[in-house]
């Protein structure tokens, strides 16, 4: 049975030097250093099929980047195993990374002082790419990511959004079947985020590239990933789709109505008012207590309705609710 990625019980502990304050403390820690253990991963298991696109979410320090670094062959775990395309990343590093693209939102893989195009040339040599084929691939990426005007600009002069598009192209020049993205949209403005999402979607759908994405921006996950994985304190707490996560947190639904008259919500049983703005009313209800059609029928009987929508609560609230349920 071959999975794209199979991780079993990954563990990683960092020893962090305690820094005491004050001159005395500094001297003491020089003479007798004290260490604190940080359990970044405390047993993480999951499996990915080829062609999947999975979002890893979790609060700061949850262990997302550590997971990506282990899968990339940068870190060796203290316990557990993982294989990526049949290889153990840190044992066959060179072969492994030749088939892999990685983008770290906070670290550049381009040459800071060189024009973008020269970074691409160097990467073609580093990956030993066939010249004609590399040129074609490059042209394709330049077109899709709209890099034409950036090619002759030194990397350090690019805006963050421009640089991130170049980083993506750099990570994909060698046509990897697998792409890891650690916070690729961090710090980007809305249009830049949209451009990157659009590109990633087509990469996954049209070229079948398997993608793991870590992010703070839940809109990334909602827009791109059918499957999401929640990591918290180095453990995997949820692995499934958004509806599944929703069901774990709440079954609540939201009804937004625009009314043409006045309404006293107290006359509707089983609802709570989330917001009220002029004649617009947002009500929360539990479909197990009162079904949506029933609620709408009652409402219409009480006041003339102009417009109405029923929705699940937004993803931010779901995830926040999920975290709240974890930390007592």
């Amino acid at each position: 049975m071959t999975c794209a990625i199979r991780a079993e019980e990954l563990r990683k502990t960092f020893r962090v030097r305690e820094t005491a304050s004050g001159l005395g403390g500094t001297l003491r820690s020089l003479l007798r250093p004290r260490y604190r253990e940080v359990h970044a991963l405390a047993g993480v298991s999951f499996a990915l099929e080829p062609g999947e696109m999975v979002g890893f979410i979790g609060p700061n320090g949850a262990g997302k980047s550590t997971t990506i670094k282990i899968l990339s062959g940068i870190l060796v775990p203290d316990g557990g195993t993982c294989t990526v395309g049949g290889l153990v990343p840190w044992e066959r590093r060179v072969e492994h990374v030749a088939r892999l693209g990685v983008v770290f939102g906070q670290r550049t893989q381009l040459w800071w002082d060189l024009p973008v195009t020269e970074s691409f040339d160097l990467l073609a040599d580093i990956y030993r790419l066939d010249r004609a084929r590399a040129a074609r691939r490059r042209q394709e990426l330049v077109g899709r990511l709209d890099l034409g005007p950036l090619l002759d600009v030194p990397v350090r002069q690019l805006s963050l959004g421009q640089r991130m598009r170049c980083e993506l192209a750099a990570a994909l020049l060698h046509e990897p079947g697998l792409l890891f993205l650690d916070e690729p949209t961090i710090g980007l403005d809305a249009p830049a985020k949209l451009a990157i999402r659009e590109f990633l979607r087509s990469l996954n759908r049209e070229q079948g590239v398997t993608v793991i994405l870590t992010t703070h921006d839940l809109d990334d996950v909602e827009a791109l990933c059918r499957r999401l994985v929640v990591i918290h304190h180095g453990r995997l707490l949820f692995d499934g789709d958004l509806d599944g996560l929703r069901a774990r947190v709440t079954s609540e639904r939201r009804l937004t109505v625009d009314l043409d008259g006045d309404l006293d919500p107290a006359r509707l049983p089983g609802v709570t008012v989330v917001a009220r703005e002029g004649r617009r009313l947002v009500l929360a209800f539990d479909p197990a207590t009162v079904s949506a059609p029933e609620l709408i029928a009652r409402l219409a009987a009480l006041a003339p309705v102009r417009d109405l929508t029923v929705e699940a609560p937004p993803i931010e609230e779901i995830v926040a609710g999920f975290y709240r349920g974890l930390d007592p």
Binding site: T2, S72, G86, A98, R107, L122
Partner: protein
């Protein structure tokens, strides 16, 4: 998580997953060999240094003057005592020249390892590990330090002076011996840089220890090591074999007595030292911890 999910899709497919890298050259093209890549990378660093030719020249010239002044001290010593343990100034010039040539080359070529602790502290080594090439090649390719031309020139001048004073300058066989000794010496100093870089995987506080050995070694080996106490001699023969880069190759040449092969074989110790250091380095890479965000 269901491990069985979707496996039919894969098992039914053809070939391994992920597929072998699609755009990859068949490997026969020589332009992508290790040396080609090394020069491609180093050319970037040379271009960067050439952007400020004035400062490069000044730095090199400064190096040349300072190191020549150092030798003036040696000259003053010999001016008073004529001989030190039976060695003349011209003979010591050969020892002096060989160490400086070796160290200048190592500092130029091994700069990436010399400055490696920064890559560890900042986590930039992550990016090196993401590239499908030898880590050693990529680190070496980061910088070729041209300003070491100053020390190199000084070594060459002093060596040349010593050779002509001793009437050896016209013997190509001697030059070959010395070039081989410099190669071994360069490997040895590179080995010290690699060791220093290896320690950085565990701590960035003890780097000074190796630094002391390196710079102390350069100072020490500028003289024939038989002038030192036996403990120092043993250390620089068996632990950090600096004796192999000048004392052993030169003793037979200047004093006779040693069979000829000793001088030819001794520089191999430098390569051995480098090989051992690289083994330790590979072990260290597995302990790299990157940085938290």
């Amino acid at each position: 998580m269901d491990p069985a999910r979707g496996t039919d899709r894969h098992d039914g497919g053809s070939g391994p997953w992920p597929p072998p890298m699609a755009g990859r050259n068949d490997g026969s093209a020589p332009r992508q060999g290790a040396f080609h890549l090394y020069w491609r990378l180093v050319a970037i660093s040379i271009r960067a240094q050439a952007q400020y030719p004035g400062s490069l020249l000044l730095l090199s010239a400064g190096h040349l003057v300072v190191t020549l002044l150092e030798f003036l001290g040696v000259w003053a010593l010999f001016d008073r005592f004529r001989l030190v343990r039976g060695w003349s100034l011209a003979e010591v010039a050969l020892f002096y020249g060989l160490v400086n040539l070796s160290f200048a080359l190592a500092e130029a070529v091994g700069r990436g390892f010399d400055a490696f602790d920064r890559l560890v502290r900042t986590g930039e080594f992550d990016v090196v590990l993401l590239r499908p090439r030898s880590e050693v090649l990529l680190i070496c390719g980061q910088e070729l330090r041209l300003s070491r031309a100053g020390r190199f020139a000084q070594g060459l001048i002093i060596l040349g002076w010593g050779m002509s004073s001793l009437g050896l300058a016209g013997r190509p066989e001697v030059w070959m011996r010395l070039a081989w000794a410099v190669a071994g010496g360069t490997a040895l100093f590179c080995g010290l840089f690699v060791l220093q870089a290896t320690i950085a995987f565990w701590t960035v506080n003890s780097l000074e220890v190796v630094n002391t050995v390196t710079y102390g070694g350069v100072e020490t080996a500028q003289f024939p090591i038989d002038i030192y106490p036996s403990a120092v001699r043993a250390f620089f023969t068996w632990v950090v074999p600096l004796a192999s880069l000048n004392y052993l190759p030169l003793r037979g040449l200047l004093r006779g007595g040693d069979p000829g092969w000793v001088g030819w074989a001794a520089p191999l110790a430098g390569f051995l030292f480098l090989a051992v250091s690289l083994r330790l380095w590979r072990f260290g890479v597995r302990h790299y911890t990157s940085t938290g965000s």
